[in-house]
Amino acid sequence: MSLLKYTIRRFLALIPILFGVLLITFVMTRALPGSPVLSAAGELRGESQAQYIAKLEERYGFNQPVLVQFVKYLRNLFSGDWGESLSVHRGATVAYLIGKAFPRTFEITILSMTLATVVGVNVGIISAVNRNKLKDTVIRFIALSGVAIPIFWLGLLLQYIFAFNFGWLPAGRYFSASLEDLEIITGLRLLDSLLLGKLDYFWDTILHLIMPVFCLAFVFIAGITRQTRSSMLEVLELDYVRTARAKGCKERDVIRKHAFRNALIPTITVVGLSFAGLLGGAVLTETTFTLHGMGWLVVAAINGVDYDIINASVFIMTIIFVTANLVIDLMYGIVDPRIRY
């Protein structure tokens, strides 16, 4: 019961956070030099430009005081109207753009984080158990390179090798141009194509996702491996692990049953925060592979000073981040009985 109370309390704490974040982004975007109206009227000159700007400002209410705009914006936001794009995709509603971009990011995130967690945790354990042996050295070398290699460079390298040289995989985008006409059910292309039973679409999307997912996963595998290894090494030296050995536990059980759960907490933190960060969009990867996900959308919006998209994206990222933190905290409680709420 206290767990439920705790969860509710944490969600209530989300309200002031969201308000603060929205206020800050709203004011800061307005304070930026340039405006979406200016960029929209960029081709016009002289008198006609001034008229056009005045017309647009009147229409979007930019001529009103910032606070009035903010209150209006909040009212619209919570009534479901997230505004419309001014420069990225003029005329489209923000809800539509995000609704299209977010599932892509979500799909890539789920795939790459699942891969990264499964591989990272297991490899980290193997590395810790074989401490300072050849296996460990090789793993540590690869993990270190994973942390050190810039993700866009790895992406370019993969594209060069597998798309340009061998031509095995498509170099970028989410799907082949000829297969664009998939009905949208959830927005997750892999899931949708399976639900509709269109395996050629499914296979096409898989081919397109292999490189970006691997690219993202590689970086996170490295982080998770290093974290798991170090916390595992710490736990393996503790007294209760020795107790387990003195009981006659097999080494495999010592690791799986006694050490692993205790070593899990730092790994949960890393995985959870990476997950939340990725859902906000992997800017570099999405740019390298021209995947129009959240990262791409936000960068495009910032470049075009597209107020409503920036605000709405920050709004979503905040919710994701706070929720991820809550989930992480709840997971601690599941893994470690000493943590209670």
């Binding site: 003195a246 009981k247 536990c249 097999k250 205790n262 893994v335």
Partner: protein, 424 residues
Amino acid sequence: MKNVKDMSKTFNNLDISGASQKMTKNDVKPLLIVKDLHTYFFTQEGIVKAVDGVSFTINHDEILGLVGETGCGKSVTALSLLKLIRSPGEIVSGEIFFDGIDIVEKTNEEMLKLRGNIMTMMFQDPMNSLNPVLKVGDQVSEVYLLHQMEFLKDELQKAKEKNSKLKENLKRMKKELKTCSPEGAETLKNQINAIKQQIKFRITINDIARREAAALLDRIGLPNAETIVNRYPHELSGGMRQRIMISMGLACNAKLLICDEPTTALDVTIQAQILDMIRELKRKLKNSVLFITHSLGVIYELCDRVAVMYSGNIVEYGTVQNIFKNPQHPYTQGLMTSIPRVTRESRAQELTIIPGMVPNLIFPPSGCRFHPRCDHAMVICKKIRPELHEMPNKVQVACHLFNKDKSGEEYRKLTEEEKQEDVL
């Protein structure tokens, strides 16, 4: 790494020479024989000679105390007995015979069957020796699951039979219920409900192990054992945790219980309870105990014989009465006089201490490792490591002071400067 040259012949002077070869049932052999054990740690700084030629025996139904300062190799000796020395440590040479089993030659897989089964070890600091994320019941029942599978399977069979009998009874009673008179129906319904509560939907081997664990905790004197098995270690007091540690050691009626400072982290009243418990259990189970501590008081209370360790060697070894009545090795004497005594005369006196520090085990002092701190140190002490010699009162002492012929330059007393020469 078996070719270590420094194989001191300490064990030749013990009464165990040749005892390990072949055993027949009628011989009253010691339960455990340790001969000239060397356990080294190969670290980057150098070879740490944590245990360097230790020999002792433990008889059946006996408590041997192992006493010494922190870092003298007590715990490493104990861990060597279970072959729990982890890399970079290694048993370099020596023999360990436990109940006729050659421990040193055993592979790790073979040791798994011995550990926690016929030799068990309980550690100091019960706060950290129990796994914080597992219920204590599961930690205790694990020992049953590891070593008592046959017994558990039998019990499981019995429990299943009992369960099916109950089910049959239930069916029969339900039939009766339809035909019986209204007066009898009431009592019959009550009976049916009582049976329903006893019937379990499914019984697994884990349930049986947990039941045994609860029974064990109950036997060991923990109140509300049924609820305690479902608690986590952090929900229990230090004394309770130590009892749970002890119960893990007793789950399989081990022949040898190794206690590594079991009372160190506990307050005095709980210490006394735990010591009483160990004594009581030993009396009941007739097993042997190796009791490691740095408290001479506990040794005196509990043990039959005692081995005093200093820097990886045993320096004095004999019955508790003899050693406490008449300590002969200068180190033991130092230990004895450094016990605070509350008497009218002692109040004015300062507490005696042994000067100096525990030696560095990578570059231990030459000869007798105690000589830099010894009041009686002689030239020979710096050159030759003394071996254990039996004294008239049956106590074995490793000290050159008791050599018969003590004339000549070899037996000149060392000056302070000479003593400190090779101390790092």
